[in-house]
Amino acid sequence: MKTGIPHASRPFALLAELTYRCPLKCPYCSNPLELRLAREELDTAAWKRVLTEAAALGVIQVHFSGGEPLVRHDLDELVSHARSLDLYTHLITSGIGADEHRLAHLRDAGLDALQISLQDSRPAENDAIAGAPSFEQKCRAIEAARRLELPLTLNVVLHRRNLDRIEDLVGLAEKCNVDRLELAHVQYTGWAFRNRAALLPTREQVERAAAVVARSRERLGRRPEILHVLPDYFQQFPKACLNGWGRVFLTVAPDGAVLPCQTAREIPGLEFPSVREVALQEIWFHAPVFQRFRGTDWMPEPCRSCDRREIDFGGCRCQAFLLTGDAGATDPVCHLSARHHIVEEALRESPKPQAALQFRTYPARTRGVVG
């Protein structure tokens, strides 16, 4: 065991990925490239136990997500249970299946807030990225949430194909009278990494977008509140991924695996304990996968001696692995990384506007597969 691993703080937030099932096929989905079958999902009782253990561990908010969490028939029951534990409940949904009736039930079950995604400001473009007709349903879901006075965040993932319509997207958020607009540039892990050539924007697009956001904030004041998550390939320093590995955040995947990060399965050689076998508290404090990148002792130079080591924690482990082959390396997005040229090369590659997108696929069921 390494010395000097700090006493772990307690987590604030739980990402409860209830299922990998989803009617959409977004090419930047944070779900794994290899998706498990529905039959392996934790059942209602198991999820309730996870929520109970999470609250006892110190979790304050639970984000119900997936795939598409609305495909779970027990969602109301889980929201209600979370609420009874005094957890702040947040639903992250594509909007598909979120009609007024369903949302009213969720609100009555104790849902505190929800987030609905939109892929573009125009129907055809939205549906092309989502991989299925969905724009109308999403707009109806937004309207329903507003009528029910559910606190609502509109989430739009930004990339080359929709960045030029960022002003329209802000206008749409304003027209729909959402409380918050989250404009989140694609993070290149998982499916997004596979599709990077097709999704990576130009620097000009990113700068124009930043200017639009600044002007919009001036014009709109506080409503909607605009959150703008910048693409770290274009930044000097990396993001504080998860606010630090195993520090304030944990994910439970549909099969019960507990992950420090929802894309951590991309990193080979990590073992993820399951809530089916081990108590959540035991996993959070003692599982090797949580200890692996906790604190600063694991850090290589230049992170180890860097003033920013407790600000950005060396960046994203998944990204470090994808770009350098070493999950313990400095995130090469950082301009201080010896391998920063990897990112510069990716940016210099001529944009491939015609690059085909590989859409997220959910495997067909086959006989005899245990999974």
């Binding site: 304050i60 505190d112 606190p151 918050r180």
Partner: protein
């Protein structure tokens, strides 16, 4: 008053007052918590008066607007407020 997506909570495990919202958690000290629990539509003057009765070290008339202004900047309270110097509420994301 508190924005709809913000909820006050007492964290028994950490023994602290919190204001929770989708993107994070704000830790509140005693006077901050007392102010937040008065954010139900009352005016600043009414809040100050209510707290003078409640707390021994009641926040001064300048501290309440300062604190609320800070929450306003974070989108956690709604209503226009007078400009004031920032208060000294504890904060942790």
């Amino acid at each position: 008053m508190l924005a709809r997506h913000a909820r006050y909570r007492w964290d028994g495990l950490r023994q602290q007052h919190q204001l929770v919202f989708p993107e994070g958690v704000l830790v509140l000290n005693e006077s901050g918590a007392a102010i937040v629990r008065c954010c139900d539509g009352r005016s600043i003057g009414e809040i100050v008066a209510a707290l003078e009765n409640q707390l021994k070290d009641a926040p001064l008339e300048s501290d309440v607007p300062a604190f609320l202004d800070r929450l306003f900047e974070k989108g956690l309270v709604i209503d226009a407020l007078d400009d004031a110097k920032l208060g000294a509420a504890n904060e942790r994301k």
